[in-house]
Symmetry: C2
Subunit: 476 residues, 2 copies
């Protein structure tokens, strides 16, 4: 939408605008029953006065293309297309509204949208900052990659054997002994969850998750008709299980949780594993932060799993580059075969080029060297963020010292974290990940990330946030 | 499964085998209620006599790990896990059977499996042969690619703007005028269908398709709960539409159809488009073979579409490399926004590396040069295949001379194309794409592809097939 009226044209500005809007309706970009953007926004976009927009819209209303609806703005009429030409055309808006898939929550959509903008300080973004991504080394590594014609055709259902073998060797080091037959390459851990949702669970099955959970910000299971149920690990799990009917699964991030950043102790992991195993509740262990532990670290649940009870998820999105879109599922072979079949029916496998690149990085040692450097730099960033917090937030919030990964789950004493705060911060160009997207009832937490914003942005963004909190407290 | 017993070990071969099988059960690779592979196959895999397998299985049955079921082989018992240790474990088989997604048809699964094997002649494969894939040039092009740190992070919802702009310019040349806002990058055309299925249609909606249809070999719509209905284009469409209730969509491949290879004439395209538009039935135009027309070629439906009525699909899988997993949807912006939102919820976008490579190929002119060479080579292959057919099949079958793409849809006079023929050919290491996977009632056609098999393989494979057909005719 970078169209602007031509000020030197013979046709009046106002006429150019009505023509433009008719064209948008004609092309279907503005479809039947769609609410059009507010006048303020149109005026800004077209670079004209609001009164010019007003006149143009009034005319289009009079002609029956648009209609006002009380208290809710201006809409494209059901008849607009017929007016424009003697042709029927599809009602895309209706198609969109009745689609099977649920629309994303509004805050999450805003986060997705604002993450595309350049002048926003992103205090919660769960990605590596551009300067932590090894762009130069990746570029350089492309020069050492050799492509086999077979490797660039359609992938085998489970993904590149070279990559699966490299992974099998890496997993061994973390105490997970599996062969390449137990591994399925996927396009990131989110796709893994999608495949598990449609491939292994019946509609109405229960998916357990921890209190605040990453799963509330994405909807692979809800979209497939599963019920989500939050449980606080061991404490309530036993009693919940007893009353459970039908299939269930437990989704967890035991190491460097998203959003809380906490890792369970080895004892907690053991007792949780035993509990689920005895109750015959399979576990999805999302372990994408495993390699980002600052200290010695704690092993994955999967390393304790002799019974094929854990579906284990990993990815290079948090360590190397999310743009590669490469993750993996480790599971018993019948599960892998089933999920591979669905993956083939979904997208015919993941990018062969991405798979070649990851295999090359793992086999050449580049990956290990990079992850080691990355850990050091993340730790520096974590310390920096903590220093700012100690200086500016100690009186109004608490938090745990991060032991790895990306996040600090900061808890405000007062229940101030709501959509109004989120929007206020957005107005000041600070993008937050408020706790309520991970736990709908939460008004105390924000997920801070020390991985994305630059050090200067951290300083400015946290300072702004503190100011906003004070203003809101002082407001009548 | 590359395990073999150690012939020099102290433990007997037969004991090593029972231990191995217990381990498979323990790890969950052989799960409760799973049917185990036939004895013949196990003997082959472990490199031992069938009698050794028999003894081992008998012992495992006696111990309660396995059980025979009348007429259907040997299964892992429900109790096997409990026997192995005092632990419960998940019943993966039950999870698999109750999953929402339908399992792939058996023939299609066999095709997917056998396409992974090396010593098979693939007479129907819808891919470019390894020697038609520009592996060397792709490798070389990697050396000219520069990576921007922002480009290797998470993708923007619609995909790389560079690639979308390159596509918008290419589409213009085919008569399709759209901006980058009307384009969504996806991981191949199959994913496009998945997104449309869950994003734009309600459950129970009708998806129309032509008689034999590629859609019968993949199940994006069926899996999302849509009804498929075959119609023979204009002839029956009008009357069908009148009795239609609820939402519908028409899926078609008007240019170089898969599996038939036919292209509609410009007049057929026009009248079909008008019919659907007037009936308000949106069209999905799958146009992945557009650039592989040998002659002057015919334009896409989308070029006639001023009304935003056609969802247009393209891809580089048939022209450059399926391993890139890059395709696109062209549609009105509200549709694109909706599908982009679902794509983000599904896999967070397509590989940024693949997108960079395709953008580079399109912008540098490499792509056009390559496609031109490819067309010439496909035409040579088509002529070669036709020559063989003329020599060996003229008395038993008819076919149309191909005008591009990959396929010859050969029709046998007698209804001989059934699963038995497919399996017989497979035994002789010839893999066919029988007509019934595209039209369940069809017993006359085979989809031949001149794109995959080498010229020698074409000769040998078609000769084998002719022999098999004769043997079956002569058999009592």
């Amino acid at each position: 939408m970078d169209w602007k009226p031509n000020r030197h044209a013979v046709i009046s500005i106002h006429r150019q605008i009505t023509d433009r809007i008719k064209a948008l309706i004609e092309r279907g970009d503005w479809s039947t029953d769609m609410r059009i953007p507010p006048q303020r926004k149109l005026a800004e976009e077209f670079g004209v006065n609001r009164s010019t927009i007003q006149t143009a819209l009034d005319e289009l209303k009079a002609d029956g293309y648009l209609e006002g609806r009380v208290g809710s703005g201006i809409y494209v009429t059901g008849n607009a297309w017929n007016l424009l030409m003697d042709q029927a055309r599809p009602n895309w808006q209706r198609h969109i509204e009745t689609g099977v898939h649920k629309p994303n929550y509004h805050t999450i959509q805003l986060i997705n949208d604002y993450e595309q903008k350049d002048d926003i300080i992103r205090l919660g973004t769960g990605e590596l900052s551009p300067d932590l991504l090894p762009a130069r080394e990746l570029e350089e590594s492309l020069r050492s990659i050799t492509l086999d014609a077979r490797a660039i055709g359609y992938s085998s259902p489970q993904g590149s054997i070279k990559l699966r073998e490299a992974l099998s060797a890496r997993l061994e080091k973390r105490g997970i002994t599996v062969s390449s037959d137990n591994i399925l390459i996927v396009s990131g851990a989110l796709q893994a969850l999608q495949l598990i949702a449609v491939g292994l669970l019946e509609e109405g099955a229960t998916v357990f998750q921890e209190g605040p959970s990453y799963l509330n910000s994405v909807h692979p299971f809800q979209s497939a008709g599963m019920r989500m149920q939050a449980v606080n690990r061991a404490e309530t799990l036993s009693s919940t299980i007893r009353s459970l009917k039908g299939q269930s699964l437990f989704y967890c991030v035991p190491t460097l949780n998203n959003p809380t950043g906490y890792s369970w102790t080895v004892e907690e992991k053991k007792s949780f594993y035993t509990l689920c195993r005895d109750a015959r509740i399979p576990i999805i262990e999302d372990d994408v932060y495993q390699e980002l532990q600052f200290g010695e670290g704690s092993p994955p649940l999967k390393a304790m799993d002799e019974a094929g009870h854990v579906l284990y998820l990993g990815s290079v999105s948090k360590t190397l580059s999310p743009g590669l879109r490469i993750g993996w599922i480790v599971a018993p072979t019948p599960v892998i075969k089933r999920l591979a079949d669905i993956k083939m029916q979904t997208d015919y496998g993941s990018s062969a080029f991405s798979q070649e690149i990851v295999a090359h990085w793992m086999m050449s040692g580049r990956y290990d060297r990079h992850v080691e450097r990355l850990r050091t730099r993340l730790q520096e960033r974590a310390e920096r963020m903590e220093k700012i917090l100690l200086r500016q937030y100690q009186d109004i919030a608490t938090w745990n010292r991060p032991s790895g990964g990306f996040y600090i789950w900061i808890r405000f004493h007062a229940p101030i974290v709501n959509k109004a705060l989120f929007l206020k911060a957005l107005q000041r160009k600070v993008l937050l990940n408020p706790g309520y997207i991970y736990d709908p009832g939460d008004a105390h937490h924000i997920r801070l990330s020390f991985a994305y914003a630059s050090l200067d942005e951290m300083e400015i963004g946290l300072h702004q946030l503190r100011k906003i909190i004070e203003e809101r407290r002082d407001a009548p």
